[in-house]
């Protein structure tokens, strides 16, 4: 099976916040990490290669420093990587991102399966996977929690949806977006990490992937951020201390009051 896994470098969101007094963003040296869902995507790719044979290419679209996540992918065991990087990609929203990534998939060529994370934690949009599927005309399979099998050009998966799980059989090629819990990602060994650190990372520009400039970066992005602000802060409310009996009584009263509303 020829597999492409899309991974993204994201700021570790827990450290990004707005200072409520000055209404500015505070980013105390926010570290960059691999989007947590994409580790599951990589791991699933590796497991499918173990089960069905084939090749895995990990791609990311981002600035030069995004090579970091590709090194992680190499250390985990993917066969090839590519960094999609070009000034023309800057300012991409999900539509332009899925365009560039789908062009990257085309460049890899003859791909059976694209795997992405369910969503990227910097935006939580969960749109890039479906976008790639729609662009390429691949089957769209979101929220995949298990790959049961693949044979004769079909794949059978389980999807974790609101209220239940759906087992579905689908034609390949397909795009899977995977949820946490599909697997436990492996930790690359120190040796492999060292090797990956010195690996040559191929860079694909807009021209290399045959991208139409009108569809990439800001030009190809219908949405933009108009304004940012701090969410309403729920400042801590009433705090109770005391004997367990008292507190349990107070709590029950509160709950019954609220239920009555």
């Amino acid at each position: 099976m020829n597999i492409v896994v899309c991974i993204k470098q994201v700021p570790d969101t827990m450290d990004v916040r707005i200072d409520p007094k000055t209404n500015t963003l505070v980013r105390d040296g926010v570290p960059s990490i691999i989007n947590p869902f994409d580790e599951f995507a990589l791991e699933e790719g590796l497991r499918l290669r173990e089960r069905f044979g084939g090749k895995i290419t990990a791609i990311t679209m981002g600035p030069p420093q995004a090579t970091e996540v590709l090194r992680t992918a190499l250390a985990m065991g993917v066969d090839a990587v590519a960094l999609l990087s070009d000034r023309a990609f800057a300012g991409a929203d999900t539509l332009a991102t899925s365009y560039a990534l789908s062009q990257g998939v085309k460049k890899v060529g003859d791909v059976d399966l694209v795997i992405t994370g369910k969503q990227a934690i910097d935006g939580d949009t969960a749109q890039v996977g479906p976008g790639i599927a729609a662009r390429l005309g691949f089957t769209q399979l979101t929220y995949v929690s298990k790959v049961e099998g693949a044979e004769n050009g079909t794949i059978t998966v389980e999807r974790l949806l609101d209220g239940g799980r759906e087992r579905v059989e689908a034609r390949l090629p397909a795009v899977l977006t995977v949820v946490k819990g599909i697997n436990v990602p492996r930790q690359p060994s120190i040796l492999k990490m060292k090797k990956a650190r010195n690996a040559e990372i191929p860079v694909w520009t807009a021209a290399d992937i045959g991208a139409d400039p009108a569809k990439t970066g800001q030009n190809g992005s219908p949405t933009w951020v108009d304004r940012i602000f701090s969410p309403d802060q729920k400042s801590g409310g009433e705090v109770y201390r005391g004997e367990p009996d008292e507190m349990a009584g107070r709590l029950s009263e509160l709950l019954l009051e609220m239920m009555a509303k």
């Binding site: 916040r17 899925s98 996977g129 969410p231 729920k234 709590l251 609220m258």
Partner: protein, 399 residues
């Protein structure tokens, strides 16, 4: 490409450098410079008091393509005859937007045998028109067929705004549809508004795990698409049947060309769907062991709610992942969220802090959960929860 720094206006205050979430701004010779890692998110622009940062001009919309789009539409998600409440919530909100823009509110209904039943239910709400596509291939939701039918309706009848519930189905549908239509889509909005002169939809949503709110526009494309989580907007009133125009649209679809076949639907045990629950009783590492979750279930049952969990409890395999609340789990917005033995890490807060009322029980008075709790109780869950269950039982017994 990147933002442009107007050197004359930049005073070298470094505010932008500190605020860029991507580390794409640097100081050189006391002026800010923009690096390749700029994503043009525009966050620095709004933080610079000296108006020294500008984002490059956006392309204008293709000629004449905006004005021929009119009206607000809601995608109707249904299970059999029963319309998902988020679709009705969007009907309520869509009505307001439509009134502000002076246009009609319509719904799109795709399905097979249940289309008439769904239409009947919708006629109890303030909707001008519904567009229906009825076909055996649309019997139950499947991405390809629904996107195909919806794209056909939208190209034919040209709405300016399309609202979709951010359920797992809705998000699956919206992502494919927006790409096919090559238009803007904003996920998981928590607030919507319109700018009447430009007819822009103002789409506000949390970003960076809920630490920041962003208002997003996609005014140069039509339709402007947004998904909204369940329970963000109130249910509109159900009235007597009203006049509602039904436009039946034919669309050729074939089963052979469908790329998926659903083999089985395995519903989760009742009461588990935390995304829908009005009351959530969540447990964390502080619950100590898996058996103690039984008591949270008992409490949840008494309150007609569901049990949730922190990642620590899920990672310890005390609770199934489908109940995890937070950044890598589900985002919930119940009326009451009760956090038992949960410290309140940012990633957990990201999934629950917009709940109407938050109750926290934790023995550590400095636990961060107390900073978002409406009511905090400093104490041991093992002592408080069983007493509470007993108390509730006896009081409910009396009523």
């Amino acid at each position: 490409m990147g933002v442009t720094i107007l050197i004359d206006k930049c005073v070298g205050c470094r505010v932008c450098v500190k605020t860029c979430p991507f580390g794409a701004l640097e100081m050189r010779n006391n002026k800010a410079v923009c690096l390749d890692s700029c994503t043009l998110c525009g966050i620095c622009v709004s933080t610079c008091k000296f108006e020294a940062i500008v984002v490059p001009e956006r392309q204008t919309a293709p000629e004449g393509s905006l004005d021929d789009h009119r009206g607000v539409w809601v995608f109707v998600q249904a299970d059999g005859d029963s319309v998902h409440h988020v679709s009705l919530e969007l009907v309520g909100e869509g009505r307001k937007l439509a009134d502000e823009l002076g246009v009609e509110l319509s719904c799109m209904v795709m399905g097979n045998g249940h289309v008439d039943g769904i239409a009947g239910e919708l006629s109890h709400y303030d909707i001008n028109r519904i567009y229906t596509v009825q076909h055996p291939v649309l019997e139950s939701y499947r991405t390809q067929a629904f996107v195909e039918a919806a794209a056909h309706l939208i190209r034919e009848y040209k709405p300016e705004i399309v609202l979709i519930g951010a359920t797992s189905t809705g998000r699956d549908f919206a992502g494919g549809l927006a790409t096919v239509l090559q238009t803007g889509l904003t996920a998981d909005c928590t607030n919507l508004g319109v700018e009447t002169e430009t007819r822009s939809l103002l789409q506000t949503r949390p970003a960076f795990g809920g630490n920041i709110m962003a208002t997003i526009k996609s005014s140069r494309h039509r339709p402007q698409m947004a998904t909204v989580r369940p329970k963000v907007f109130a249910m509109p009133l159900r009235s007597e049947k009203r006049d509602m125009e039904v436009v039946k649209v034919a669309k050729d679809l074939s089963e052979e060309s469908q790329r998926t076949r659903v083999l089985e639907w395995i519903p989760v045990r009742e009461g588990v769907n935390i995304a829908e629950a009005n009351v959530i009783v969540s447990g964390g590492r502080g619950m100590g062991k898996p058996d103690n979750f039984a008591m949270l279930q008992e409490l949840a049952d008494l309150l007609g709610g569901a049990v949730g969990a922190s990642r620590a409890a899920v990672d310890a395999e005390w609770v199934d992942y489908s109940r995890q609340v937070g950044q890598t789990g589900r985002t919930v917005r119940p009326s009451v969220y009760i956090a038992c033995g949960i410290s309140g890490a940012v990633q957990h807060l990201a999934g629950m802090k917009t709940s109407d009322t938050i109750i926290a029980i934790n023995r550590d008075p400095d636990a961060p959960i107390f900073s978002v709790a409406t009511y905090g109780f400093v104490g041991d869950v093992m002592e408080i929860v069983p007493r509470m269950i007993a108390e509730l039982k006896s009081r409910q017994g009396k009523q």
